[in-house]
């Protein structure tokens, strides 16, 4: 069995003391360090995200319509790199190194913007490079978090990490707008500062995060075939399937905030602040939900998080308006993230064999990303076809089906496990 063998190997290696501390209720220094790396990196990338629209239109004078074709490029690159990165990280026990390459690539890409100027293919390539870096680093980072924590405290570790991560998402846009209000049209200052902040994150990773040393036998075990064989493991396969299914019924943030803006008829300048409402609730609840997940079951919490998402849909399509709608969406959307994002990784983490943990998490994240991609295409299509309200209603119906199927699949699995398998 994967589970038992990986556990015995874990205790044989040097992470013993880390784990003992985690079991005693302390989150390891490694997890905190990774959280701080994510915090700083998120500030860096949120800065760019925040100024990009203004930069493209006001700074470069590009037509809005020339930008449609940039989007498609990302998806494929990210998926491939995520899987390849996960495999390489396991094969060479180089989780930290692969993550460092990912963080480094993203940081350096920021310097490209002022150099490349008003070239649409150039900007598209740089955005793709930035996302490639993100695709590359996510699975090894989550594997490091998982490997730095005991099986019992996975939820807590991911909760701490995601809370720190979200602090970065909060601060980034503010720093960007502060810089922009000082420099007006000197967008290159934002990019250079973003690079500097990204470099700080990379340094923190290199200096303070410790990879889990793996014996040579473990590395050999991490073959491509073994990675593929992970999907033969029924509980993991079910989790991936449910993540994909539920992901396909998850309306992307962009659309949630667009519908919210339409419902509230918000003035344009408030719009960039909407994601911060969700992030605020997520920030507060990430750790508590992680702890709850450790206690009552991560899969259960992950599944129930989608009830909160259903609540978001009900509010968006329902009769409630004004401040109640705004606050309700923030609370439920933030709760949804707190119950699902880190919790899903925590749910998978403990069950995956240590030598293959990065590959496994990469597969799981790819499944979820694929689901979300399907969702955003479908939602965009439904919006065009029927308008936002009915698109939300259809998403609600899809979510109900995905929830029922997932509950049956995961509940069934647990029931079988309980009946003495």
């Amino acid at each position: 069995m994967y589970l038992s063998s990986s556990r015995s190997q874990d205790t044989a290696t040097g992470v013993r003391r880390d784990r003992a501390r985690a079991a005693g209720g302390v989150v390891t220094a490694n997890v905190v360090a990774l959280g701080l790396v994510s915090l700083v990196t998120d500030i860096s990338s949120e800065m760019v995200t925040a100024v990009m629209p203004v930069y493209l239109v006001a700074g470069l004078g590009l037509s809005i319509l020339q930008f449609g074709f940039l989007d498609g490029l990302y998806q494929g690159v990210t998926v491939f790199l995520r899987l390849a990165g996960g495999h390489i990280a396991d094969r060479f026990a180089a989780r930290k190194k692969v993550a460092a390459v990912g963080y480094g690539v993203s940081a350096v890409s920021k310097l490209g913007f002022p150099l490349i100027g008003a070239s649409v293919p150039g900007i598209g390539t740089l955005l793709a490079v930035d996302r490639a870096g993100k695709g590359l680093r996510t699975a090894p980072r989550d594997a490091l978090i998982s490997l730095s924590s005991t099986p019992e405290s996975q939820g807590k570790a991911f909760g701490v990490h995601r809370a720190l991560d979200t602090v970065g998402a909060f601060t980034g846009p503010f720093i960007a707008f502060l810089i922009l209000s000082a420099v007006a049209t000197a967008y290159d200052a934002v990019f250079v500062v973003s690079f500097c902040v990204g470099a700080v994150g990379l340094l923190m990773l290199l200096l303070f995060v410790r990879d889990r040393p793996s014996p040579a036998s473990e590395r050999k075990a991490a073959s491509t075939r073994a990675g593929l064989r992970l999907l033969r493991d029924a509980p993991f396969r079910r989790l991936c399937g449910c993540a994909l299914l539920l992901g396909a019924a998850t309306v992307s943030d962009a659309f949630v905030f667009l519908v919210l803006q339409r419902r509230l008829d918000l003035a344009g300048h408030w719009f960039p602040l909407l994601p911060l409402g969700t992030a605020g609730v997520y920030l507060l609840l990430a750790l508590p939900m992680g702890l709850v997940a450790d206690r009552v079951g991560r899969r259960t919490v992950f599944l129930l998080g989608h009830v909160a998402l259903g609540g978001v849909y009900a509010l968006l399509a329902g009769p409630v308006g004004g401040l109640a709608l705004l606050a309700g969406v923030f609370v439920l959307h933030g709760t949804f993230y707190a119950m699902t994002d880190g919790v899903l990784m925590a749910a998978a983490g403990a069950g995956l064999p240590a030598p293959l943990r990065t590959s496994g998490l990469a597969v799981l994240q790819t499944g979820q990303a694929a689901g979300k991609f399907v969702s955003s295409v479908a939602f965009g299509w439904a919006w065009t076809r029927w308008g936002p309200e009915r698109a939300v209603m259809w998403s609600g119906a899809a979510l109900a089906v995905a929830f029922a199927v997932s509950a049956a699949v995961m509940g069934g699995a647990r029931a079988r496990a309980r009946w003495g398998r």
Binding site: G14, V15, R17, R21, A29, T49, A50, M52, P53, V54, V57, G61, L62, S63, I64, L65, F67, G68, D71, A118, S119, V120, P121, L127, P173, F174, I179, L180, S181, A182, V183, A184, T185, A186, D188, A189, V192, V193, C196, A199, V200, L203, M204, L207, F208, R210, P213, A254, F257, L258, G268, H269, W270, F271, P272, L274, P275, W383, T384, G387
Partner: protein, 351 residues
């Protein structure tokens, strides 16, 4: 330090590593601050460092001899201000007003001025100005100013702004075009609320975007650009404000501008997929439907204006700087483009 060693748990937070990190932090923070300060100085110098004309003591009036009104982009104290030159000698001295605008248009003793009020969160406004450039009406905009136009009588005002779909998916953009009746005060928030027909059938796709309105002499009929579909196509539409309807006339027409005699439209036509300058200026004869390419060979991203029935003018960036020049070209495809005013943008003839 024993990297990868089995025993030293948490040992990575050693004094040496923390010290190295603090040093690097200081260097990177210094780099970021120094670059930002440098960028602020560079931009300030570019905009205000030159010896361009300063705002003068004599107020600029829209009444008077024929002139060309524009936004001054000459480096100096008048950068960004409303300015005017003699229509007969556009290369001569300019008169600069106190008023600043990011986009500008004027007709019949009235001006439309779009401004960005920069702050931690920028706010944008459309200002209707009287002939002394005093504010008579203010409308908050939903996004960044792009196009501004008044009807020849000065009664109808229209503007287009860029709206950023959201801050997480940076590639989602849309435009919003509004029409204001300055006499009645009635405001059409978005042309997207109008019914559109194409070849007799309703166009109901919600991804419609509109921009670049130009009015006819009756202050009710207008022409504009509609974009829809993925990949988006642009269309010329003719609209009726009272009926709240629009009809699609033809494809690949952006930012139309109606000639004073009402017979032709100058517009930008997409001629290549080159991201840097995909457009060329064309003139469409409304009666015959013939299109004529103008002699300007550079890409123009502007809603051109008619100086008279034979000449159009438009802004072009000067290059790397914050500046731009106003150029003109004959409207019949003959001749060549000539630079009318250096350091100017958003031209509007004061007839």
């Amino acid at each position: 330090m024993h990297d990868g060693d089995a025993e030293p748990v948490g040992a990575l937070f050693t004094r040496r590593r923390v010290l190295a990190f603090v040093l690097a932090l200081v260097v990177l923070a210094g780099l970021g601050v120094a670059y930002t300060v440098h960028a602020i100085e560079r931009e300030d110098k570019k905009k205000y460092g030159g010896n361009g004309t300063a705002p003068g003591p004599v107020p600029l009036s829209l009444q008077g001899p024929p002139r060309l009104l524009f936004r001054s982009t000459e480096s100096g104290p008048g950068y960004g201000h409303v300015a005017a030159v003699d229509a007969a000698a556009p290369g001569g001295a300019r008169q600069v007003a106190d008023r600043t605008c990011d986009r500008l248009y004027a007709a019949a003793g009235r001006a439309l001025c779009l401004i960005v009020d920069r702050g931690v969160i920028s706010r944008n406004y459309a200002l209707v100005l009287d002939d002394q450039l005093r504010e008579v009406r203010r409308v908050e905009l939903a996004g960044t100013p792009n196009r501004a136009r008044l009807s020849a009588s000065g009664r109808m005002a229209s503007w287009t702004v860029f709206v950023y779909g959201d801050s997480y998916a940076a590639t989602s953009f849309s435009t919003r075009t509004s029409v204001l009746d300055t006499r009645s005060g009635e405001l059409v928030q978005s042309l997207e609320d109008f019914a559109v027909t194409k070849d007799g059938a309703d166009v109901r796709t919600p991804d419609r975007n509109f921009w670049g309105v130009t009015f006819t002499a009756d202050d009710n009929t207008f022409y504009a650009t509609m974009s829809t579909g993925g990949p988006p196509h642009t269309y010329l539409v003719r609209g009726d404000l009272k009926a709240r309807t629009m009809t699609v006339l033809r494809e690949n027409v952006e930012c139309p501008s109606l000639s004073p005699d009402g017979t032709r439209l100058v517009f930008k036509k997409k001629v290549s997929n080159d991201g840097r300058n995909p457009w060329r200026l064309y003139v469409l004869d409304l009666a015959s439907g013939t299109e004529t390419a103008l002699a300007e060979t550079r890409g123009v991203d502007d809603q051109a204006v008619w100086l008279d029935d034979h000449t159009v003018a438009y802004g072009l960036p000067t290059g790397a700087g914050a500046g731009s020049d106003v150029w003109s070209v004959p409207a019949d495809g003959s001749g060549a483009a000539t630079r009318l005013v250096a350091g100017a943008f958003s031209p509007a003839p004061l007839r």
